[in-house]
Point group: D2
Chain length 338, copies 4
């Protein structure tokens, strides 16, 4: 059970509720977040009087589920609140944005080649990982600092915004220096210390859904960032783990309209990880836009067969260009532009 406080409530209001809880033989835990103050009722016996709690001064309402806490912010209509993607674009507005680039930063020549190609085709941001979460410790772990430098230079040369992954709080400072958006990968969606650290930044965060995360867990992961002070979170659906075998993951697109309904966060789709297959990226990109996604995150590599990771799901430049050409009319039919 959670007691959601009025926006105008103070620490003292919260303390008063905690005292009332004690008097009811209950224990409360107060969270003073950046967006709202909430008290979780940790422990209670027969003396708990929900009706009385709901009626106390400064209490907005009492809810049973974390998602109800989220419900506090917004009301019936939740307009998506755009989040900046570098200085020239934003995610969550009328325009559908495309972020593209290689899975991993490998060498500067290839990175420049990929960046120029995706920019020419209409992407507004470059993706590329330098800290790589890999299943095996024997697999390539990313270029690290050296890769960050490359990203910084390419960013300057191309004007593309840069999106790259952080895996722990130690990565935040160095990545912040070159990236416009800090990405949290699926494997770290539940990494709450990392989410809290990102909540203390002024840089937008791209939060990928965990492989087996529920909708509530996904939204609550975003809430960790927001209640720590950083309101700028972009959600990303990238497929969930199911019994399906012909794809790497099952792209669960219904989450797109559902996020739009219950939240004010923009949401994009990653059809590359969401299918694991280059030949399915185009149709699933189209499906994502048709159901309301605010953007796409697509892996593009100059020579996919030689990519150091995820080659099977990377588009080559020609395929990316062809995909982009087809998205314009589709976006228009959805009252969006590209």
């Amino acid at each position: 059970m959670f007691i959601v406080m009025e926006p105008s409530s103070s620490r003292r209001d919260v303390d008063r509720i905690l005292d009332v809880l004690t008097g009811m033989d209950a224990v409360g835990y107060a969270c003073h977040g950046a967006t709202q103050r909430v008290i979780e009722v940790l422990e209670a016996g027969a003396g708990l009087d929900r009706g009385r709690l709901a009626g106390l001064p400064a209490v907005a309402r009492v809810v049973d589920e974390p998602l109800g806490v989220l419900g506090a912010r917004g009301g019936a209509e939740r307009e998506t609140c755009p989040v900046p993607l570098g200085s020239r674009a934003a995610v969550g507005g009328q325009r559908v944005v495309v972020i593209a680039g290689p899975c991993s930063v490998e060498d500067e020549g290839r990175l420049v080649e990929a960046a120029n190609a995706v920019a020419a085709a209409g992407a507004v941001a470059l993706r590329g990982g330098v800290f790589k979460p890999r299943t095996s410790p024997y697999s390539y772990q990313g270029l690290g600092a050296r890769g960050l430098e490359m990203l910084g230079r390419v960013r300057e040369q191309t004007g593309l915004a840069v999106v790259t992954e952080v895996m722990c709080s130690e990565h935040v400072e160095p990545v912040r220096a070159v990236a416009d958006v800090l990405q949290v990968g699926s494997r770290n969606m539940h990494n709450t210390p990392l989410l809290k650290a990102l909540g203390e930044q002024d840089r937008p965060v791209l939060l990928k859904r965990g492989w087996s995360a529920t909708l509530e867990e996904f939204l609550m992961a975003a809430e960790y960032i927001r209640q720590a002070g950083n309101p700028r979170v972009i959600l990303c659906e990238r497929g969930i783990r199911t019994h399906e075998r012909y794809v790497r993951n099952t792209l669960a697109l219904a989450v797109v309209p559902e996020v739009k309904r219950v939240s004010d966060l923009p949401i994009i789709v990653d059809p590359s990880h969401g299918t694991g297959r280059a030949d399915l990226v185009a149709p699933m990109s189209r499906a994502a836009i048709a159901c309301g996604a605010d953007g796409l995150l697509i892996e593009v590599h100059p020579v996919p067969s030689r990519a150091w990771s995820d080659g099977a799901q990377s588009l080559d430049v020609a395929a990316f260009r062809e995909l982009m050409a087809g998205l314009g009319p589709l976006a228009a039919a959805c009252s969006r532009s590209l």
Copy 2:
């Protein structure tokens, strides 16, 4: 291991291969299907000589997986082969078709009301179940024969094609008399006696994907119908069972472009069962068309709150009309029409 015979092969050719297998201390099982002859190698020891088998007269090729057998029919490019939906439409051509109507046939007044409404909004066929597969034996099991009569009358009055479910071979004859398409529900996708019975009919079959069926199992269920003699199968994706909770099922749309790639069967999408929620039907209908679906199967009820089954996922008439109005431009952006 399967030995796929040449299209021109005879029973005698197959017998000859079976003899060769015996000589290799192996046992073969011959399937003389309507579309092709195939020998499964049931049992074999060290004497099995795959190379020799592949080179024998009348042998097209030797494959390891059932899906490889499927590969026999078609070649690199697999044009979707349209299947008639009544006398006025077909599934799998340039036009995207919409089949709509109530989950269950309840009474004739409501059925007529639903039929007229969906026809006016642009649907080409009416859905409505009279034999209902329900989780509980205490739940409504459908009107049966009486419902079939209603469907027959409404079909005549409206000119809509009728799609309705069969659950066992006993249903086939009576349903055939009034329905243009016989539907196999998700729960029966693996019901091979039913699939074989439908393979002996000249009526198209709408085959819904099982809740936890793999792609291979889905395609092989269609193959049961086809190799028994009925080539006219329409596939239908309707969501799979996963850990997700905010939807009834997880609509796994990547199956649409994948079916297009490996098969010549048309495929439609059921966003009603695929989400279980009326408010998600429109965005997921759009996503389905954008990734290449040949049609939609949508539950529409005059008063969803009073529907005898699946009310939560049924559109009312106004919502269906609005959905249909939006699909035209989208189909056009996908080089299709509605």
Copy 3:
């Protein structure tokens, strides 16, 4: 919503409730089952008065979920009600029973060999399929009637009870003639016409859990058989479909104690299908007994490498003998015998 009637209620009592529902602007559907009478409220508006319904004569109680209907039979303590397994054994009593044999009946020599071996090792029943539900129509479909004759002869010779699968109502009569228990496979757990047909038999039914069935669906499938008049159902857990890859299925053993808690049905476990691997059959057999299973269903083949189906998960005779030898002490530590 379901209205569960008192055991002593009559058809007239039910009709009276249906009239009351009509007066409340609601529609009821009556199920007169062998075990109880239940009314489903199909449709209702604001006039529905649950409290009044619960208080009407002959009404036992009003519940929201099908599982609540099940709750009618039993009370707090649900002793498992043993089901006969041939004339010499029963499933659900103090003794843990083992049913073993080949996946498919292949030829009589092998069947006799397998039967003698499993009997000698302590199995009380022989399994062996003659109607085979296969993914591909090109795969071996079973010996059919010829296999049934073999099973009949082996049953007479060995005194073993025989368990074999039926896939449609047409199979029921011929299988009934030679089998002590009629098996419903996982693919047919949702096949309600088949369940109803088996409910009209006096022969016990072994009902395997569907690949992706919930607990409620599993119990309700059994209820289809019971409310049609046949109370003798043995449940069988055989693994569910998940993201796991090193096993064919994920054996979900918690269902065993849960079935014991909510139902009076015996439950056995099939570790062969539940893992798909011969080397995991022994440890999972032990786990099944330790958490309370009433028996095991195990695939045993004289020469697994030459089995016509499921060879990878079949034990050879020596491995089965070794497994059985170890189960005795384990059963004793669980206050059971073998």
Copy 4:
């Protein structure tokens, strides 16, 4: 593709292989782990000659899958290598160990009460979380440093080994000071920076399987710790996420014998998280031991209904005592002791 080097290989040997790869127009990535040196072939064209690579000096073998790398260590028989659990016990030997205690450390009185109770009943270690990974930021996040102090005092008083969770590298030092085993929770199984940090410690690590982790990912997470220098890892199965609803997770016990087969790591089972229900803890504990688990991790709370987290799955002291009493004979029937 991975090139596994001989145990006696040097950095120079690895450099030589990297040069050979360059000559083959391929790119290699070298991992110099504590347990073995491995080269991943990141990128290669037609010039790659696998046979030649396998035959080069200092190369042990060439494998395709990360799990094959693991295969390097051990050979056909993999005796489980016991890992110390405090000074008095070890996990992975003949004795089955039980670790028990509250989900969260709440206050010292309760902690002492729980510790004394579980020790008296036969547990060898105390569990209790002070850094809590919670779905919602509004939920209780754990006592942190204050809780660690409590754990330290209780450890001294009771002589119980202490197991508690770390969520990021910042936690490692303070937790190390009071805990005998550092736990990695399911949400952090994929947190490779944390795994690497723990690999630099001399303290055993209890690694819980991720909710949707494959077996390979689970073993590779352990490998991150081991190749960074810490060989002492205890695996823990705690249930996976599936479509099942009556349990919080699906306990996938087949992983126990499979881990025993492919690895030398001990593995324990957490039936509390694995079911989410106190009443299923006892039967699933029994199942775990019967299939070969080296121990159990069980949540016990003096007053479960007042627990600050996971009350529904916590045993009270009496239930834990009863469970423990029953495990002795079961362990004996499995040739183990408690």
